[in-house]
Symmetry: C2
Subunit: 469 residues, 2 copies
């Protein structure tokens, strides 16, 4: 085992009585097979799997509520499962438990185009959602790399390439249905665009990673498809020039829809993976949304800024198929980078800093990777000050892992010192619990802990994640 799990010893038993009770609810939709447990005991992180004792496939909030109530009586862990694409060990069954797979709760419950809202079950994936609402002329912009489930994206407070313009799950979830630790079903909001009605339970559950409740329905904002879209890419001789172009674009208030950075390694990786021939230099990819004229105006401002920082070329991708190809390549970057060192796994970092500190943070981190001779790529949602260093490590080589974790720890410390955060969009999971303390301080963590204790007194909801009990 490469990443030992200190809490493994706390494993709680699945009793015969509990198993029978769960079978009563789920029948053939309960499984204790090794294959099923293995599938639900790992994510995309570099952690080794930690298996749940059983897996159920839920079909309704009521079933989830019944299962959680039963597990609560037995003080038995429950872990919500969507697509298994989390990156920080979120769904690993540290103490065993029941994996509640929500992927079959994949109905779009209501589309309200007249209000720019949609209500979905948690197993709907972001791509599925956009297919299902396409005819309305509306779209849902949040796009993490994976085709994640909306439930998982909500629980992780996910974002992606469009966040610079449209915000993250924090800004785009209007209301939730949640099953509490006691097995009660609650609604946390309405479809009103704003509200001052009491504690913001919606935002409390967004990003709570299954530790405060299980999300079983989500109402989201959706947006009119822009009248016009254009995209452009440009390369730079050095990283600082690329990043400074972004900083100035944001500071001038240009409402870019997307602005993504890829370092040379990442460009090389997507060239290979997606058969592209981009110059293997630091690259920015822009997308502009608006009216025909507005899009042109934005692009001209950005082109001018890029030229000031010595951009090499400024190429337009006006045809939709060219744009799709570029953005698909960007979304594939995680997998493309894996191929730079076959057989290895990626430790994917995720810090976010105030935009004025982005160049400093990114360049110092890059230098650290180079000092440590770590094969890596850096990609970033740089308009938000968020970037990922993907370090390719041999997880069987403890020294290799330690080097990469050292780079990550120093990067997080650097980001926090710059008044940034240890995770822009991936979440805490197992991997960042100590960084969370560094970022918030013990007193704030104590407040989080008091909330966890109040809302989940038996510590059954995804135990051992975000904060220590």
């Amino acid at each position: 085992m490469n990443h030992p799990h200190p809490l493994q010893s706390l494993k709680r038993p699945l009793t015969e009585a509990l198993l029978l009770g769960l079978q009563g609810i789920f029948g053939a939709r309960l499984s204790t097979s090794q294959a099923m447990r293995e599938h639900h005991g790992k994510d995309e992180s570099s952690y080794d799997p930690m298996l749940p004792d059983a897996v159920v496939f839920a079909h309704s909030s009521e079933e989830v509520a019944a299962a959680v109530a039963l597990c609560n009586e037995h003080a038995f862990p429950v872990i919500a499962y969507g697509t298994g694409t989390s990156l920080e060990g979120h769904i690993l069954a540290l103490q065993g438990g029941l994996s509640i797979d929500l992927s079959q709760m994949n109905q779009v419950v209501a589309i309200n185009p007249e209000d720019l809202t949609v209500t979905v079950q948690p197993g709907v994936t972001r791509k599925q959602l956009n297919v299902e609402i396409k005819d309305t002329g509306l779209f849902f912009p949040i796009d993490p790399g994976a085709d994640a489930s909306i439930g998982g994206m909500t629980a992780t407070r996910a974002s992606g390439t469009n966040a610079v313009r449209y915000g993250t799950m924090r800004e785009n979830v209007l209301a939730l249905t949640v099953v509490t630790a006691a097995g009660k079903i609650i609604k946390t909001g309405t479809r009103a665009k704003k509200s001052s009605a009491g504690y913001d339970l919606t935002r409390l559950f967004v990003g709570s990673e299954g530790t405060l409740g299980i999300i079983t329905e989500i109402t989201l904002k959706i947006y009119p498809q822009p009248e016009a879209v254009s995209a452009a890419i440009c390369s730079f001789t050095d990283i600082a020039s690329a990043v400074n172009t972004v900083i100035q674009t944001i500071q001038m208030g240009v409402p870019v829809a997307r602005v993504e950075f890829l370092d040379e390694s990442s460009v090389r990786a997507i060239n290979q993976h997606d058969k592209l021939s981009l110059p293997e230099k630091p690259l920015l990819m822009f997308e502009f949304h608006g009216s025909e004229h507005g899009v042109k105006e934005q692009a001209e401002v950005v082109q001018h800024i890029a030229a000031e920082f010595g951009a090499i070329g400024f190429e337009w991708a006006t045809r939709p198929e060219d744009r799709s190809r570029l953005w698909q390549a960007r979304h594939n970057a995680y997998f493309a980078l894996l191929q730079l060192r076959p057989g290895c796994r990626a430790i994917s970092t995720d810090c976010c800093v105030p935009i004025s500190r982005l160049a400093d943070c990114l360049l110092e981190t890059k230098a650290d990777c180079e000092r440590e001779h770590i094969i890596h790529g850096i990609i970033g949602h740089v308009g938000d000050g968020n970037f990922h260093v993907q370090m390719l490590v041999d997880t069987n080589d403890a020294a290799d892992v330690a080097r990469a974790e050292g780079v990550n720890a120093r990067m997080v410390a650097r980001a926090i010192a710059m008044n940034g955060t240890c995770t822009g969009e991936h979440g805490v999971g197992l991997h960042k619990m100590d960084f969370l303390v560094d970022e918030h301080g013990e007193a704030a963590i104590d407040v989080m802990r008091s909330i966890k204790h109040a809302m989940d007194p038996n510590n059954i909801l995804n135990p051992g994640k975000i904060i220590r009990w």
Copy 2:
């Protein structure tokens, strides 16, 4: 007393020991004078005053922490005070207690124009903030009617006329410093634009109305002043046409910066109050922010939609002084409306519904007011589906108050049935505690209560507000 306070009997004593302790911290900045207590025992609601036992003027987070820690030892209530402009009885000292006046903590702590953020003490008012950051070319858009303090606006999850474009305090607070019930000072976030780092304490404190902690520092997003601004007004023969113009504007995704509705009474009131000569018909006031061309484009789309709904005239206010005069008049509407029935007080309602239901909700409510013969005006941040019926009542006439409260209760029920909220921006305070239960349901309120109990076990933080203990 017109609105009796059921919890008055719970008044807790200010002991000599506690008073001496507070004098040790605040010296001459502690007062128990009747005048000072009266000033701090009322807000802009129609409730009669309820006086705190003492008032202190805090100068630092550390002083607030010391005072709260001391009061917590004595299980003595503490109520944060900003400008006293809340509308739902938020700051009334139901159980007596210590009013902590934060108005002298009015420093802008840090301006970071390069990151589009500013950090302020809670006593800074919204107008003061905009004066202090003016030279940076940036502005803070949230503008409730009153020149409220940023601390109070944060605690109430306030918004205003710009929210349709820029969001509310929910979207614009990045991080807080908060004093907890135990008297600890915590930080809830960073200056990073996004984060997935643990429970969203920032959003939990935003809108918590002083019941979970006392906010002593706020980091806000600020925005580049738009390159171009234009404003337009147009009148309609009926309310439905005005509201339907707004609905279509929002559904088409036009990024209006402001769109305000005033009914005939409200137009008449501001005509009198601000010496204007607007047609006394339902009115829309628009403001557009963007590039020169973008602003023109937006306005043309809106003008076209308004024409389809039979708008009478579409007048431009291109000169900044004309725009200021119009918006000043709009901000004065609350006070202007008070003069429609001299000697009376206003019961100001505040519901918010999905935009497609706005015309129904507003018209049914208007009809109800007319049936009850209540002098009233309706104004609304209609782009968000939010409107206020301001009912002028003689608070010495119980039947008059009851009629108005009946209209309000039916309006709230209507809004909730339409999947809206009982308060768009004013908050819960004393007045909406029952509506909050109607909106969220007992199970969700229980979750809020469990959070309150966990974070404030002695119920010292603004007790008796938002939820019943």
